[in-house]
Symmetry: C2
Subunit: 269 residues, 2 copies
């Protein structure tokens, strides 16, 4: 089974395109949890327990774990181990390095930590991406057009009549021989999202930028999914996991996730 | 003291532009060390003990540590702690993420692990770079033109008559208000190295790609340094730390480092 097939199977079974970003910041979690042995994992566990039936994926951004040193790495591993096999586990690492180094990163996240997918930065070109793609049953989401203001600086520059992000999308389509490559496209640029979807009609998009970053949900679903309303993973992090800062945070996260999944599904149909 | 001043002081005091990359691969270190409690740190410690008088910097690529999980993180921290204050400690992490996430990476490497400098991927633009620059006394080396074959894919595309790597260099010059920004420029493209040095005559270059990757040393020194033969950090990793695979590895690394430093210094004058 290719990664594309796996993703379709999961999104259909769960009837969800929703991904929750476990960008768990130790400075933002409820005080009560700080007494626990591993507060970040305890927080994640409660969020996962309350939301795992609602999502197709969890996305873990390593920055929030690396800032806690080796303890963070333990929280990361425990969280990855805890997530059940019926969702896609995405390591949002945005790594990009020369070949022999990229192999080590690919091994770290796709083999050792057993993530199902990873995000990769394309700036170093094909030989920095291929070591990830060689894990044929794993997903590789390459940054195309990111959701932040700085995306203007380089990604939106014109190269021979095309935008750089379009050149990146074309390169990724060429590298996609195992049907395991996707693109990261921010929800904050809906016209560009539409344009990239036209260029790449049948590969999965990982779409951050709704919620705290201000992306429009209707356009995200309309332009970001394929012609069947599938092949998109729509991420929300802060808008779900910090919905409440009180002891009811996990239940509040469930309610926010349930509402967002419902809105997305209404827009898909 | 700005980072630029600190770098100049150290390179002058040590009379060296040499940086050793501690890309320590547990699969490549002498078997005898595998019995130690922390083989990677033990290897690094012996290399550092033998070479610290010869170098201006050590560069640690996180991929080789993350592949070992939380143990790798412990080796990374112990290595950072062990390196003396009279050299520049560079975290070669090539991170790039949106602002609130980049802040966490900056804290992880520049504050928690106390590195003196970090490498950053520019693809996400200014707001992904600024959180690192805000550590005013730390160095931020932004990837400009990397040493690998894939550098052709995007970095060498023409944007309005300029190469993308030139646009990146210009942006970095504009961000350099605290005199703490440098560029990563590979030794494998000497003509481009010359061109980038002309554009950016007085900021430091971190130059990988000599040795195993095949960069020409004479052109690297001639084109990569500033008009005083300074402001360049020339890295060698595999060519030094794996010079011998036997028990004499640390002494062999010292000999290789001594020879390379001597060659570089002859070419500077």
């Amino acid at each position: 089974m290719t990664f594309f097939e796996k993703l379709l199977e999961i999104t259909r079974k769960k009837d969800s395109l929703l991904c929750i970003g476990l960008d768990t910041d130790i400075e933002k979690i409820p005080e009560k949890l700080l007494k626990e042995d591993d507060p970040v994992f305890s927080f994640n566990k409660l969020i996962i327990d309350e939301t795992c039936d609602l999502v197709c994926a969890y996305k873990i951004n390593t920055a929030f774990y690396e800032v806690n040193g080796e303890k963070g790495w333990i929280s990361l591993k425990k969280t990855s181990d805890y997530i059940s096999k019926d969702v896609i586990k995405i390591a949002d690492v945005k790594r990009g390095d020369i070949g022999n180094t990229a192999k080590k990163y690919a091994s770290a996240f796709l083999s050792k930590l057993e993530f199902d997918a990873v995000t990769v930065n394309p700036y170093l070109g094909y030989d920095s991406i291929i070591p990830f793609i060689e894990y044929r049953d794993k997903g590789v989401f390459i940054l195309c057009l990111t959701s932040n203001a700085g995306a203007q600086d380089f990604q939106k520059l014109k190269v021979d009549g095309k935008y750089l992000y379009q050149v990146v999308a074309e390169k990724v389509l060429n590298l996609n021989k195992y049907r395991n490559c996707g693109l990261v496209v921010g929800a904050t640029f809906p016209e560009e999202l539409r344009n990239i979807r036209e260029m790449a009609p049948d590969i999965p998009f990982l779409i951050p930028g709704i919620g705290a970053q201000g992306g429009d949900l209707e356009k995200t679903v309309k332009f970001g999914t394929d012609s069947n309303g599938e092949m998109a993973i729509i991420n929300s992090s802060r808008g779900i996991i910090y919905k409440s800062s009180g002891e009811d945070f996990a239940r509040a996260a469930r309610n926010a996730a349930e509402e967002l999944r419902r809105e997305i599904n209404l827009l898909r149909r």
